[in-house]
Structures are given as C-alpha cells and as structure tokens.
Symmetry: D2
Subunit: 299 residues, 4 copies
Amino acid sequence: MTVGELVHEMKECGVLGAGKIGRAAELAAEMFGGKDYTVFLTMAGPMVPGGMRRIVGDLINQGYVKVVVSTGANMVHDIVEALGYKHSVGTFLAEDKELRAKDIGRIGDIYIEQKAFRSLEEWMHKTLENIPEEKRRHISTAELLFELGKEIQDPESILAIAAKKRVPIISPAFVDSIAGFHLWMFGQDKKIGLDPILDVNKLMDKVYDAKKAGIIILGGGWPKHFALFANTFREGVDCAIQITMDRPEPGGLSGATLEEAISWGKVKPGGKSVTVICDATIAFPLVVAAALESLGKIH
Amino acid sequence: MTVGELVHEMKECGVLGAGKIGRAAELAAEMFGGKDYTVFLTMAGPMVPGGMRRIVGDLINQGYVKVVVSTGANMVHDIVEALGYKHSVGTFLAEDKELRAKDIGRIGDIYIEQKAFRSLEEWMHKTLENIPEEKRRHISTAELLFELGKEIQDPESILAIAAKKRVPIISPAFVDSIAGFHLWMFGQDKKIGLDPILDVNKLMDKVYDAKKAGIIILGGGWPKHFALFANTFREGVDCAIQITMDRPEPGGLSGATLEEAISWGKVKPGGKSVTVICDATIAFPLVVAAALESLGKIH
Amino acid sequence: MTVGELVHEMKECGVLGAGKIGRAAELAAEMFGGKDYTVFLTMAGPMVPGGMRRIVGDLINQGYVKVVVSTGANMVHDIVEALGYKHSVGTFLAEDKELRAKDIGRIGDIYIEQKAFRSLEEWMHKTLENIPEEKRRHISTAELLFELGKEIQDPESILAIAAKKRVPIISPAFVDSIAGFHLWMFGQDKKIGLDPILDVNKLMDKVYDAKKAGIIILGGGWPKHFALFANTFREGVDCAIQITMDRPEPGGLSGATLEEAISWGKVKPGGKSVTVICDATIAFPLVVAAALESLGKIH
Amino acid sequence: MTVGELVHEMKECGVLGAGKIGRAAELAAEMFGGKDYTVFLTMAGPMVPGGMRRIVGDLINQGYVKVVVSTGANMVHDIVEALGYKHSVGTFLAEDKELRAKDIGRIGDIYIEQKAFRSLEEWMHKTLENIPEEKRRHISTAELLFELGKEIQDPESILAIAAKKRVPIISPAFVDSIAGFHLWMFGQDKKIGLDPILDVNKLMDKVYDAKKAGIIILGGGWPKHFALFANTFREGVDCAIQITMDRPEPGGLSGATLEEAISWGKVKPGGKSVTVICDATIAFPLVVAAALESLGKIH
C-alpha cells in the first residue's frame, strides 16, 4: 500500500484526524500542483532537529515552496548539521543534570552536543566577517540568511538550497536563537545591525506578487502570525494548512483556528483550509508524500 | 513510497512523533508476527464511527488479535453499520440545536441518524428474545456480545467476525451505551441480568493462557485499565502500544504513561512499550499497515 | 481577597479560562442554591487520590449533590484512605521499576503503597461476607456501594457519607477497578453477582424524579456518558458544568463539547452549560468555593 | 476563604494541578519577597486581551517585576486599550465571515474592533514622528517601547507604567505584530530602523546585574526562549515558574519542561522550578494573589 493510497482512504473516511490528513494532502497537492500558487511555509518547533530537514529542502529545491518564514532555531540546527554535527536519539526521561554535565542539550527526546554550537559560533564569526561591513551594518534577516546560505557546502542544508534557489528565508525574530546571540557577540567588536523592518519589505513583495497565496504552517508561533498577517494585505491566503498540537481554548495564536483567521482577513472567506491536530513529524511527511504521489512525482 | 517505507524512515529518524510511530510499527510487527503472543486490543473513543471498523475486523479475522476489550459504544456503532446505517461526514462547527431538530447525533465531525438507534433497539429486542432465558438471566457481556455477533450478517462487522473466530469481545461497562439502555428497557418485561464479574473470568482465562501478552491500547478509558489490570496477575504485559491524545499531567488513567504502568505491575519491568501521542485514526492505520507490510502481508 | 472575589473578577473578565471559571461558579451556585435542582456529580480521573475527597464528601453531606456516578477507582481510593492509608506526594519523574520493587503504585505524581490494596482485599472480603447471600447474588453497584459505605467508620469517606445521606453512588463499570477484581476473587468461592442493569433503574429513578437536572462532570469517561445519556430520557439536563483536560478533536466522549451533547438530547437546547478546560484539582475547588461563598455558605 | 487559604490547601494537597499551583505561589512569593531577586516576566499568548493587563501593570508598578519580555501583540493590545478601545466578550463559536464583515477581529472568545488598530496606526505614526530621527533610525525595541510608553496617558497601561518605573519591555520580535507593520508603513516615507541586537544588550545587562534571577513564563513562545537563553550566560535562573497549556511531546520550546531547560544551562541544576499546566488567565491571578497575600500585601 502506498502512502498515497493510505491517505486516500483517510480522505474517503473523511472524519476526525484521518479526514484532516486526507484533506491536507488534497490541499497540498492543489498548492504544489498549481502554477499560480505562491506557497509560504512557516516553521516553528523542532522541525529540523525532528527530521524534517530533507523534506523541507526538497520542497524548496523542487520549487514547491517559494517563501519560508522560520524561527532562528530551525536555521541554527540546519547549520550545525551542515557543520557535521548530528542530532541523536535521546529520551524524554533524561537526567537533565547529567546531560548538562556531559555538555549535551536536550530538545524533547533529541540530543545535540553543545560543542556543535561552539563550532557554530566560530563559523558564524568567520562568515559574518566575510560580509562587507557596509552590508551587515543594516541588514534584513532574509539577506543575512542568504549570505549564510551561500557559504554552506552541505547540499542538504535548507539555507544552502534556499540561497541557491533564491527562496527567501525570513526570520525577523532571528535574534532569539543561539545564532542570534552570536550576532550580538560579534557586534561587541564589529559592526552589525539587524533590521527586521526590512524583512517586512521582503515578505510583502512576495505577498503582493502572489497570484494565489497558499500557506503551510508547521507548529505555529510567531512565523504563523507573521506570514498570515502579511497576507491580510491581499485579503488573505487562498489556501491554508496548519499542523499543530496546540489547542484553541487558551486563545493563543499557535492553537487558533483558521476560521478565526478569517475574522482578521488572514484567510479569505472563500478560501480553503484545514487544521491537522498532529505532531508535525508524523503529519507533514504523510501529507507531503501523499500530495506529491497524487501529482505523479516520486518522493 | 509504501507506507512501510515511510514508517521505516520515521523509525530511522527515531525522535518525536515520528520515532514513536516507527517504534510502534516495530512492536506491532513483533506482536503480530510472534506465534507466542496473545494480543489484547482495547478500544475507547470513536474507533468504529471514525473508520477503524475494517482494520479491527481484519486484525481479528486474520488472527492477530485474540482478545478485544471495548466500550459498548463501539459495539453499538458496529451494529448500526451492520443494520445498514452509515456514519456520515459532518463538521465540528455544527449547529447542534439544528441537528437535534433533524434527529441527527454528532460525534466530533461525524453524524449519525438517531433512527439508526431506534432500529438498533428493535434488533436488540428481537435478538435478546432469541437468547434462551436461562442464559440471558445471568450472562457476561462477552457471552452476550457473542450471541449478538452470531446474528449479524454483515461480514465486515467486528462482532460478527469475532463471533465466527471465537475471539471474545469483553465489555463489562456495556450497560453504559445506547444498547446497554436497550438491555434495561428489555428487562422491564423480560428476564435479563448482566454480570461483569463473569467477564473477569473470561479475561483472566486469556491472561493466564498467554505465553506472551501484548496489548494495543486505542484511546484509553476503562478498557485500558481493565485489560492492563488483568495482566497484573501475570506480572504485566510483555509488549504494549498505546495511541492516545490524552496527557499525563492531570493524572488520569487514559493519559498515564506506560512507565507508570510498570509501578503497578501492568507492564513488565523488562517489557517493551511505546506511547504514540496521536489521533488514533491517523496513527493506527499507519502502524498496522507498516507492521503487516514488514511481515510480508499485503494490506 | 476571597476566592469568591477573585472568581467574580474572572467572571467580569468573561473570556478564556477565567471566563469559564466565572461562568462555572455562577452555574454551580444556581444548581446548589436552587431547591428544585437534582445535581448529578460524575467523577473520572484521580479525584480522590488528587485531594477532592473532602470537597465531594461535603457536597454530598450538605445536600448539594444528590446522585454520584463514579469510576470504581475513586471508590477504591476512598476506602483505602478510610482504612488509614494515605496517598503521598511523589513525582511524575519517578523511576517506576524502583517503585515496583518498593511495592508502590504511582498515579501521576501520587504514590500509594500496594499494601493498602491488600488491606482493601481483606476488608472487602469481610464486608462482602456480611452481606446476606440472597442480596449479593444479584446486586446493583449502587446497592453494593451502599452496603460498603455503611461499614466505613471514617466520617470523611465519600462512601460513608453517601450511605448516611442515602445519596446513591452508581458505578456500573465497578468491576473495572481493584475492588472489582476483589469481587471476582470473592466469587471464586462465594456467591456474588453484580448487575449493572439494576443500576440503570436507580439512575433513571433519579432522572425521572428531577424537577430540574444539573450535572457537574469531572474528568469525563464513562461516568459522563452514563449520566448524560440517562438524562436524554428527560430531554436533557437543564444545567451542565464539565471540567476536563481532554480535547474534542479526536472525537472521544471525554473531550466532547456540551454543545455536541445537545444533538443527542443530553443537554436541553435551552439549557445552560460551560466547559472549563482545566485540571479538576485546580478548577473544582475554585468553582465550588466561589459558588458556596456567593450563596453565603462558609466553606 | 481567601485565595491564599485555598492555594495553601492546594499546596498541602501537593499533587497534580493543585500541587503545582501551590508550589508556584510559594516560588512566586520567594521571588517577589526576595530583595535580591531580579524577576523576568515573559508573555506570549493573549495575556492583555485575556484580562491580565492590570495584574502585570501592578507587578511592574510595585517593583516585583524588573524585566518584561513580551510579544508585540500584547503591547499592541495594551495600547489600543489605552486609546479607549475595549476588548469584549465574544465566543469561540463565532461566524468568522460575519465578524470579518463587521470589521471585528476574534482572539479565541475575545472580540476587538478593527478600527482600534486604525486608531493605533494613527497614534503610532504621530508618536514615531515625535521620536527624533537620530534615535529612531537605529533603535532597540526596548528603547522604542519606552518612547511609546512615555506618551501613553492611561495609568493602567503596561507600557506607561513600565516607562515610568524604567522597567524595560523587550520585544525583539516586535515587527511581528500589527504595530510592527505600522513601523514598516511609517518607514516607507520616514527613517526608522529597528535593531533587536541592541535588545540583547539590554537584556544581558539585566542578566549580568541580577544577584538572583527568577523568571515567570506565561504561555511560552519566543519570549520564553529569549529570556531563558539570555540567562544561560549566568548559568541559569535560580527560580522559574511556567504556566502553559502546551505539551512537551511534540518537542517544541513552549511545552518544553523546565527540567529540559537544565540541560541547556537555562535553569540552574540546583534551581527551583515548577510548571503549571493551566490556562494563564486562571493560574496567574491565582498564583499572584496567593503569593502577595502570603507576603502580607493586599491585592
């Protein structure tokens, strides 16, 4: 049984979680298959550490995703993998004091050696120095991430692929990440100035240029808000998929429904949307594989 | 890409939800493949209305599952489908007063016509009458469900398949269901007496006979407790998979971890277990399909 | 600041969790204050181990709650406390294999010595023997729990208070509990037969007699369904409060909304209801204290 | 019964949600009462729309909170309230297309008129113009929010109080908010440049100056990460309370445990921490009121 066949049965079932997966695959196929769709992918949560790095890289490489809005953390983890450090399988039931003593950081049941981030700091410093001062003294995160991406050798790196394909990775909250603090440290002696207002320009260009706008939201967080709010300037996205484990009752944005988004003009009243309540590392590969299979692309 | 291949990649990833799906498929294959495993399947939540009817029926039919502990509700929905009523796709965003007026009951985003339950009542009455009074005046739910299953024509009915394969469906809380109340109504004029203590006998026989005990828990609820507690009499199950969306922090049994179960002797200290935090209508088909594929069985 | 004053501010705020707490206190006051209300309290989850024993006992003792539908587990924990065993503060981050070795069972972050259940077994055996065989060979759980309650000395025992006040505690799924298995063991040599169909009678009497029906649902589970379904025979409860941490999207009954309940005739279309998404050990004392304060009763 | 008395009983109970509330009140009292504590408050989610505005303002005004890290959204809602617009009680079960047509935005069950944001835009424009160009062409969000706070008349405004008390409100992801986009629009004709790297300076000053560092995390999100990560430079906070409805299993930062934080050096191995799984609009007022009561301060 292929993934597409399983997901097709889920679509036929049509209810509960299965129904949502089926619908999401359908909408993803529409967004990926439609030449007039500009697809925005937003990432929050441990997407890269959680194994989504290849899928996201492929989606950018094959032109399905045109804009990425991501937390800095995911880019940090992308770079450390490019530097040769692997995330390894740990456990939620860890002795965290021991991990601290062993210089290992835990993300759920994922372990990463802290020395990966020391290597990252060196690499960041070196790479930042190579950006002309004139440029880096007032730079958007998109431009910064493009500069970083150009320097990465690893062909599986999201940043490298995005730089090659000229797909912007926009991360206005980048300073809130390990690499963001590296920027701060760099800035103690050298000139660097990040300006996320410039990122709004970059994002708005994509929003205005889009014939149809589609969005795939992984996790939620500020990337969800940033990309959706930008799209209010075109009366909302035409198509939206969100995959989250957050719930709406506390009122936070991450768990907010895509129906609520209509009230803000973030999703068109006539738009199509679906929320899949599921761990993204389960739902996203399932939905993407099924969508690409239905479009006749081998995954 | 086959389901097995996708799940294999999830297993290789090894972390977060994907890692759990991968591990669950591995353990399911072990339980289904091992001749010495007695597999207990527990069901709570809308498994039958949610589309799991065929998968469960197949697992019983092909001998993978040897004991079922289920809420009465799932059996009720199994019978109404056998009587020709279909669960249909509705919406969570329903106008429930309207549904009431239209005589439709809602389960999440699933709709079912109330007249299905009126047909059920007639069928129950007729079928109960055909059970000799001597038997039905003091009967276990397992025996009752066997008697009901023998009368069902639908080859896809879980009850019918279980009756044919002599796989007990044990439901001590059966009275808490629409059909349970039908028993009560029947009992207004005729003799009927349900005794769930007899069900303990039936369940304990299976527990004692098992060389190795495996359990697959869908949803949680009292079936989870009943089956796990019974297994404390053999120092715990050897292998356990639970698929739930409940969380452990409120302390309830449904969200309780399989590690906590060790403290009760419900899972052997050396046993293998995994909890998949996921909607069962997504995770269960995924895990079963992958497990059967790895065993070389076409699904 | 009194609890009532805080909850009043939450009511004034009116939104999100605070708004729900405020509304729940308002409805609880209406149900407790109204002479024509029959209040059904349903309990699932670790209410007794979690510290709710005194509050529930008081509500029964003071006549606010007229019917209890509870899991057997909560009654088991009530009895072991009456036998002098205390639930103690443990941790979710336990080494469960060690707890097993130390003969301690864990419920979330609550520990209880297993020997409490061995004492329970002795007490159950002794107490069951004192019930005339004629009675116990075909007994409802409500009748059984009444008989047990009469034998309990502890004035804080829910069972004892309920027996004294003639408030039925109905537990058709009682066999799914440690004490339920004690019944089974007792039944190996002596006559005992539980018949939950008789419990339906008991519950239905209360439903039919109620002028107005109110329900407070703690946790969910089968008690929620049993009590709500019984009330479909009077077109639904007039007033409902549910406190749960479960969510609706997986379609299970525990997380189902009280709006969905309207489609089944479980809640009157014109009824008042509120769902508080919160741990019951936080929300229930808050709501009850505020409600009683607003009624002028010292808590 | 006072709030403090209720929470004291929860502390005595010591388990499940009640136990966490009790512990959180204890730690909050320690942080508020201790002269050597620098308390960082992080806010994500609908804290201001959800009614937490006054509590937060008071905590800043009375010197209990020394640093705030907040999403821009919460500051936006603070300003619109200062401009005279009220958040009103709506419903989760809204017809969002109708709300859109009526120019109302929904946040959970909270409604706010969109015209509030048009007023905000005017006010932002006016206020930004009054900031000398030299300053606003390269400004931190903390400095910007200070400038905005100085212009707000409403004595209950968090921004106004913070400006008066010189408590920094740090919001490096500010551009991801309605006001953030107003900055962008302002920047189409006028000079403005936000630099969140400067915010790191501000935050790090507070981290380095702290004798003891305490943190109260509402909701999670990037503010949680930013404040905790900054504290890795002092080997972690000494005391931490987080109130969230997110769960750890998907691996995201918002639901991550404070134990996991130890592995990153975000919380000292010997530090004290508690996570309350609860809606912040229920837990935060409860915890703060109880803490202040135990310190002898009338709330």
